[in-house]
């Protein structure tokens, strides 16, 4: 297996934690709320899923626990910023730290333990194609994530629900004036984002690398937040961005496997460098930001 085949085969799985968390954050931001606690929500989801799976609860229950845990912690954030109108940046950071702390606490006695991952499902015909065939051999969560991407894209672009979320993100006062429940919709969006971050953490801990280690999320929550901006709040671009990061994070492994003489520190810092470069390029296109940016992002709604 050469480096390209290796990257193609692993890219989607590596992208999935980024993708799930970023999709959740996309919905949150589209509704006008900035939740910087994604890293902590992912960490909490990861440890909950790991504990459930380790004690034989199975992967489905693991994901359910992670989703509920992420949603519950994000509702604390929602209560603080939507109920008491606290500063969203500060509250998001606090919730993130809380999530990481809870994760370390719950995970203390599970350090270095392992669970069994999920089997890969191959799509007939497609998986036999040379070079790109590996793309079509993935576990069930990857396939579901792709479906979720499509569903979120269609919901935001074409349904009334999506329209209401976008309207509230752009101009909450006007949305209130025409009779939409701004705060309730934002609560729902934040809970959804928390659930997705929980799923993302669960995938990282019980499917992608089914081993518990404290701090295993390793900045992926932050990259997910960057991805939302990087994708200019558009689902398709966020998906492509997640794939890019998946691929970049595999390059280090691929380079080591092929014996390339590049310092591993440089390779493992690649995703972060790519984030900075791409964010710079995106910010240059003001038209794109104007069209898709969320006008009320991070501002408390005060009627």
């Amino acid at each position: 297996m050469n480096a390209i085949e290796f990257i193609l085969a692993g890219m989607l799985a590596a992208a999935t934690p980024f993708l799930l968390a970023a999709l959740g954050e996309l919905v949150v931001e589209r509704a006008g709320v900035l939740n910087l606690g994604v890293e902590g929500l992912m960490a909490l989801g990861a440890v909950l899923a790991f504990i459930v799976v380790y004690h034989g609860g199975g992967h489905v229950m693991g994901f359910v626990a992670a989703g509920l845990g992420g949603a519950a912690l994000s509702l604390v954030f929602a209560l603080v910023v939507l109920g008491f109108r606290a500063n969203q940046v500060a509250a998001g950071l606090a919730i993130g730290i809380l999530g990481q702390g809870l994760s370390a606490l719950f995970g203390k006695s599970y350090e270095s333990l392992t669970v069994k991952g999920l089997p890969k499902l191959a799509l007939p015909w497609l998986s036999d194609i040379p070079v790109v065939g590996g793309l079509f051999v993935q576990d069930v969560v990857v396939w579901l994530s792709l479906a979720a991407t499509l569903a979120i894209w269609a919901t935001l672009a074409y349904t009334k629900t999506g329209l209401v979320v976008r309207a509230i993100g752009e101009n909450p006062k006007a949305a209130h004036a025409i009779g939409y429940p701004v705060v309730a919709v934002r609560f729902a969006a934040v809970a959804f984002g928390g659930m997705m971050a929980g799923f993302a953490g669960a995938y990282a801990a019980v499917v992608y690398t089914p081993l518990w280690a404290d701090g295993m999320i390793a900045g992926r929550g932050w990259i997910a937040i960057a991805l939302v901006v990087f994708g200019t709040w558009l689902t398709g671009r966020i998906f492509l961005g997640a794939c890019l990061f998946g691929a970049v994070s595999l390059m280090g492994l691929a380079a080591q496997a092929t014996g390339l003489d590049v310092p591993s520190q440089l390779l493992s810092s690649l995703p972060y460098l790519v984030t900075i470069v791409v964010l710079g390029i995106i910010s240059a296109d003001r038209r794109l930001l104007k069209l898709n940016g969320v006008a009320s992002l991070g501002e408390p709604f005060d009627r």
């Binding site: 009334k160 329209l163 209401v164 976008r166 309207a167 752009e170 101009n171 006062k173 006007a174 949305a175 004036a177 025409i178 009779g179 939409y180 003001r286 038209r287 104007k290 069209l291 898709n292 940016g293 006008a295």
Partner: protein, 507 residues
């Protein structure tokens, strides 16, 4: 008299210390066009918010079709059959027209688009259903608002200052629309400060002053002066007669300016030429969205011309095209932008600090630090001289009503005693008492030799102020028309592009 459609009794509403509405009584009969007249701060906006369910009254009752009505939200008002077009539009800029409408009206996108086109044709409210709202002019946005309301089939339609953004031809069209709606069984609650319009279209009027009703009457039976007196509580000041033109030195000259903005949604300008001399007011008429924003930014210095485009814009005889806004101000230029919040003033900052923004050359700084005493004295004087209604100079700019903030900003710029003053929309949303004070002040300054350029959508205002008028349409400027030899209809034809700007040259 038939039973009223809407009936208010003893409606009161306070915000903290401010009693916005006190014991308001109001009856709107079915099939009528009813005016609510009043100055800024008289409580008109509060009253309609109560009727539309945005806010709830502290006391009093609202009767709707003979039964008591208590509205917790605008959605309930719409379900009851009350629709409203806001003064500050409640549209979503990043959404398309049809998406905006879909937020309020159930239905499939394609069907809604078709209904938008039909309504547009029937009522002269044409607009592209798939255009993004941020790409539309203010006038077009209003059409979207009205269409959105009409699509919910209201029994009562509330319009807040609907004509302030329309050219004369469209105002007539809007009035036709409203009359047709009335004949079709809809009542209209029409909020305006334009007395002539109220006399032209309304069957009843309720006049508010200081949060109280000062009269119910039939506006057709009273002349403009009567109405104005009831509204402001004293006689209207007479317009100031302008002195004959002296032909002073050129303070602003634009010669054959072409400009293609980077922003794909902006209007390109071509062949713009104009001259403003000392002791002269030049007005630029036109419906917004025809290049006003772009032209204003080029004159103010917010947009700088590329260095290779020389000899296009002169101020006080100096080529300023490539100079920034601060440098232009140092030459004796002052500017009142069209949007007060964000460009004219910083909403979160106090009036004292907002005064400082442009008036710092007036010794408001000491060794580069703010001189609190002088800065506060400056803000105080501006508040006093321009009749800004505010608790004090430490009030946040964003807490003032639009009209009051405008008075403050215009005052601040005038107090700089510039050689060249550029005012975009001088009296937008300002009540008539204050508007006429601002206009008189501008004419006085002109008589004292200031050169003044005014951009306005209100033709009446331009006719009252200006020595000559040029019309901006589709990024092109008409030749100057001497105001006293020109009729409003002629300007109107340029405004809708019915006359090519390359017509005969006067001046």
């Amino acid at each position: 008299m038939t039973a009223p459609l809407l009936s208010l009794r003893g409606i009161s509403k306070s915000y903290g210390q401010i009693r916005a509405n006190q014991a308001i009584d109001l009856d709107v009969p079915p099939r009528s066009i009813h005016a609510i007249l009043g100055e800024n701060g008289a409580g008109k906006s509060t009253l309609v918010k109560l009727i539309y369910g945005v806010e709830q009254p502290d006391s009093g009752t609202i009767m709707w079709k003979g039964a008591p009505l208590s509205l917790a939200s605008p959605a309930e008002a719409r379900r009851a059959g009350i629709g409203m077009v806001f003064q500050h539009f409640s549209l979503f800029e990043t959404l398309t027209v049809v998406e905006n409408i879909r937020l309020v009206v159930p239905g499939r996108k394609a069907d809604l688009a078709e209904r938008i086109r039909t309504l547009g044709r029937d009522f002269g409210l044409e607009v592209d259903p798939f255009a993004h709202v941020h790409a539309l002019s203010v006038g077009e946005r209003q059409r979207v608002e009205i269409i959105r309301c009409l699509m919910t089939n209201p029994k009562l339609l509330i319009l807040d200052e609907p004509t302030s953004v329309l050219p004369p031809q469209s105002v007539e069209k809007l009035f036709d629309t409203l009359r047709r709606l009335r004949d079709g069984g809809v009542s209209v609650l029409f909020i305006s400060h334009k007395l002539e319009e109220i006399r032209a279209i309304c069957d009843h009027a309720t006049i508010l002053r200081g949060g109280r009703v000062t009269g119910h009457l039939d506006p057709r039976e009273h002349d403009v002066h009567d109405l104005a007196r009831m509204m402001i509580g004293r006689d209207m000041p007479e317009p100031m007669p302008a002195l004959a033109r002296s032909g002073g030195d050129k303070r602003l000259e634009i010669i054959g300016l072409d400009y293609r903005p980077d922003d794909p949604f902006a209007v390109p300008l071509s062949g713009i030429s104009l001259t403003v001399r000392s002791g002269e007011i030049l007005g630029i008429a036109g419906i917004s969205g025809n290049g006003q924003t772009e032209l204003a930014a080029l004159i103010s210095g917010e947009t700088e011309l590329p260095r290779e485009q020389r000899d296009r814009i002169y101020m006080m005889g100096k080529d300023v095209g490539a100079l920034d806004a601060a440098t232009r101000r140092r030459l004796g230029f002052a500017f009142v932008p069209e949007d007060r919040l964000g460009r004219g003033a910083v909403p979160e900052m106090s009036l004292v600090l907002n005064g400082l923004l442009t008036a710092h050359p007036l010794k408001l700084l000491k060794h580069g630090l703010i001189d609190r005493k002088n800065a506060a004295a400056f803000a105080d004087e501006c508040i006093r001289r321009y009749d800004v209604r505010t608790p004090g100079p430490e009030t946040e700019a964003g807490a003032l009503s639009g009209g009051n903030l405008q008075k403050f900003i215009v005052g601040r710029e005038i107090m700089l005693s510039p050689k060249l003053l550029f005012v975009a929309q001088p009296t937008w949303g300002v009540d008539i008492g204050a508007a006429s004070a601002i206009r008189r002040r501008l004419v006085t300054l002109r008589n004292e030799g200031m050169a003044i350029l005014v951009i306005s959508e209100e033709l009446e205002e331009l006719f009252e102020l200006c020595d000559s008028i040029q019309v901006l349409h589709n990024g092109k400027l008409s030749p100057p028309l001497v105001t006293r030899d020109t009729r409003p209809e002629e300007i109107g034809r340029y405004m809708i592009g019915a006359r090519s700007p390359s017509g005969k040259v006067l001046a």
